[in-house]
């Protein structure tokens, strides 16, 4: 009924075009040269990549589910020792970008590579996603159903399998698909550990030849697989049970003689997923500090901070406009804009990067190899994250407040600026900060699109590891964990909630 302000419409439509046109362009170009593209795809190599990628996705998803679920159940539902401490350490790997995790492992175990290495590192990097989702679901669970089951004669294990698991299965499945999407799009760790999946093959094909058809064709195959997984995710995500009020004290299972082995299991995971990588980074950083060029480091830090700041503010502005549009002024166009921004979520960064290379080189040469194209890549990649974070604070401002403001003589658009935005501001700032920190860690799109004069912490780290100079790479890795990973984890609402629920 209400019309959206012109500024909101302009920003929203622009963002929607920017996010969808490059990928559409990539598809159109491939369809035009479909014979060459098909020839590229119909090779044994493609089948090999498909096998490798599929194997890794399945293996990592399965192991992340087992590890994440065991961490969540043991810390929230049992009397395991140091439950709160183990809960923190279970979420901590989120602060370590997966390529940093890979780097730390290679620098300990020289020559670590192949399927096993990729499986190990990605399992450690993704199990926090399962841990957080399952912890949240377990915390929402009403313990009384478990108590009733015990009175009906079920043992502890039977309660876990027949009562607890069915109630958190949807959350676990959803987080498993999230892990699958993560692995599909992962580039840095896989490339460092030299395991051939689509992302690494796309990057190598792009670097290796002037004809980019091969890279683009592979990118489209990866895109299709990703869409298939997203479709699965949508289909099996299910409805979360509406959060109920906590009913009294939570029931904690007495592990009995398993109390110690369970703690050992959690401790082992903590050692592999956090202690070992961090120790490795710290030791190599100390070794590398002797011949560390501080000027180069500061230059990279400045580059990273600049990009992250600009991207965060830009994405924040576009995201706020779209969120306002879809929440406050329901209109057909607004829904299309929001949907088109969402539809790009989970498209692998390497595909986005490649699509922008194509688009930039052929259609908009004046921004090709400038920071602008890189910022557009960040907009495409992280607008969905921003929308998820921005929607809640804006939706939580009661419409009644706007109506009161209007009745006091303040026009609708001005009421938005004087009432809605100030109230939502803390939430908006948090969402924008989280996006900025995520941009700091981004690797593949930055590698493909950065102007040659621009260096970031991530690209410097990448350059050093390609030369196998781990002691040079380590300080950059450590700095990334400290200035991006840890603050992002601290800002992550889901993680905070999960940790507080374990403690209570």
């Amino acid at each position: 009924m209400r019309k959206a302000p012109a500024l909101v419409v302009v920003l929203g439509v622009f963002a929607a075009l920017v996010t969808t046109v490059p990928i559409g362009y990539l598809a159109v170009r491939l369809i035009q040269g479909w014979q060459a593209a098909l020839a590229e795809i119909l090779r044994f190599r493609t089948l090999e990549l498909l096998g490798n990628t599929g194997l890794l996705v399945l293996a990592v998803t399965a192991s992340a589910l087992v590890i994440g679920f065991s961490q969540a159940w043991l810390t929230t539902k049992t009397n395991v020792v140091f439950a709160a401490g183990f809960a923190v350490s279970a979420a901590l790997p989120l602060a370590i970008p997966s390529y940093v995790m890979a780097l730390s492992y290679i620098s300990i175990f020289n020559g670590l590579s192949g399927f096993f290495a990729a499986w190990l590192v990605l399992t450690l990097a993704t199990s926090p996603l399962v841990f957080l989702a399952v912890t949240a679901a377990l915390a929402r669970l009403d313990s009384s159903s478990e108590e009733v089951a015990r009175t009906l004669g079920l043992g502890k294990l039977q309660v876990l399998l027949k009562v607890t698991w069915p109630q958190v299965r949807t959350a676990a499945t959803a987080s498993g698909l999230l892990v699958a999407l993560y692995v599909l799009g992962e580039f840095g760790a896989i490339a460092l550990l030299r395991y051939d999946t689509f992302t690494r093959a796309i990057y190598n094909a792009y670097r290796g030849s002037f004809d980019r058809t091969s890279a683009a064709a592979l990118a489209v195959v990866l895109l299709l697989i990703t869409l298939l997984v997203i479709w699965f995710e949508r289909k099996y995500r299910g409805e979360y049970v509406a959060s109920k009020k906590q009913l009294g004290k939570k029931l904690r299972v007495d592990l009995g003689i398993w109390r110690l082995p369970a703690a050992l299991w959690l401790g082992l995971i903590a050692i592999f997923s956090t202690a070992l990588p961090i120790a490795s980074l710290v030791i190599w950083s100390i070794q590398g500090s002797a011949n560390l060029d501080l000027g180069v480091l500061l230059d990279a830090l400045w580059g990273s901070v600049q990009l992250a700041g600009l991207a965060g503010i830009g994405i924040g502005i576009f995201g706020t406009a779209i969120a306002l549009w879809s929440i406050r002024y329901r209109s057909r166009l607004g829904q299309i804009v929001e949907w088109s921004s969402w539809s790009i979520h989970a498209v692998p960064a390497i595909v986005v990067g490649l699509a922008l290379v194509f688009f930039g080189a052929n259609v908009t040469p004046w921004i090709y190899q400038t920071s602008w194209l890189l910022l557009i890549a960040y907009l495409i990649l992280f607008l969905p994250n921003a929308l998820a974070g921005l929607a809640t604070p804006i939706a939580q401002v009661p419409v009644l407040l706007e109506e009161v403001s209007q009745s006091l003589g303040v026009p609708a658009n001005k009421s938005m600026a004087r009432v809605v935005l100030p109230i939502a501001l803390p939430g908006i700032v948090a969402a924008v900060s989280l996006v900025g920190l995520t941009v700091l860690k981004e690797l593949p799109a930055t590698l493909l699109l950065r102007p040659s004069s621009l260096n970031t912490l991530a690209t410097r780290l990448w350059g050093a590891t390609e030369d196998l100079a781990y002691s040079q790479a380590a300080p950059y890795a450590l700095l990334l964990v400290i200035i991006a990973g840890l603050p992002a984890l601290a800002l992550n609402l889901q993680a905070r909630r999960a940790l507080s629920e374990v403690r209570s």
């Binding site: 009661p398 009644l400 407040l401 109506e403 009161v404 403001s405 209007q406 009745s407 006091l408 003589g409 303040v410 026009p411 609708a412 009421s415 004087r418 009432v419 100030p422 109230i423 501001l425």
Partner: protein
Amino acid sequence: MAELNLRGVTKTFDGLNVLQGVDLEVHDRELFAVLGASAAGKSTLLRLIAGFEKPTDGTIELDGTEISNSTSVLVPEKRNLGIVPQDSALFPHLDVSQNIGFGLAGLSAKDKSARVAELLELVELTEFANARVDQLSGGQAQRVALARALAPKPALILLDEPFSALDAELRSRLRQDVKAALRAEGATAILVTHDQEEALSLADKVAVLRNGKIVQVGAPTEIYSSPVDVGIATFLGDSVLIDGAVAGGKIQTVLGKLTATGELVEGQAGTVAIRSENFYLQPNPQGDGEVVGRVFFGHDAVVEVDIRGVKIRARSNGPFAPEVGMKVTVWVRGTVNFYPGS
């Protein structure tokens, strides 16, 4: 001057008539209450007057200017009216003074703070001038909401069940405070409420809204003593309904011959509505009524009497109310209302 006129206002949501041909006339400095049960269309009526909804049919005029019809609606910010919502809806990012001053545009800083101070005094919250709104109690928040609405001197104040979120004792005190504040500002106000006591004690004039239609408009005493139909009679306070017929200018009932207001047609049958406080129960061992129930409220009691198979509920002086099992004679004091046909 503030004169509000609604003519034939109808509002339809998804084919459902929420309001149907509503006519209202609110005069300058009047405190006007719209009384209705929940889902009677009260909130919709306020939203139409405030300009948040467009009428399906009919017009709304303020001071002789048409502000709403079925094709165009003057935007809320140009209507010059203030609203006091049910849950006060204070701006959480502003303090008490800033909330009150929110709508004061085009005033110098000095005039603005003078006006805010004046209102703070009016609602007796001067010491809370710089308090955060989440530190206020429910009653204080509601007074800030009133001051905020009054600040720009609007032509009309709309109060949407402003006391319903408060407890009973606070409610009756705040009611009088609000009435005094509105009088002091010389404001014209419309109050919607489902609480008949609130409407009757606060307003100069009451309109009863039922199923989207205005069924009666009048002064509180008029509405209470002569409800136009049985429905309003039972809605406004306790009424006992018994069958009766007109005989010799009186109503012949199981309780004897009663005096009714209005014109009577000889021989007509209908329903008599008697207020429970109009009964007088005289203890009498030979009486034909028997007390079958008693609920004690302190200052009074409701006594249930069975008289020749008809049950009545009478309000009686608390400590002196007859006990269960006692025989009584039932008298009806004053006149009753007679509704033929029903």
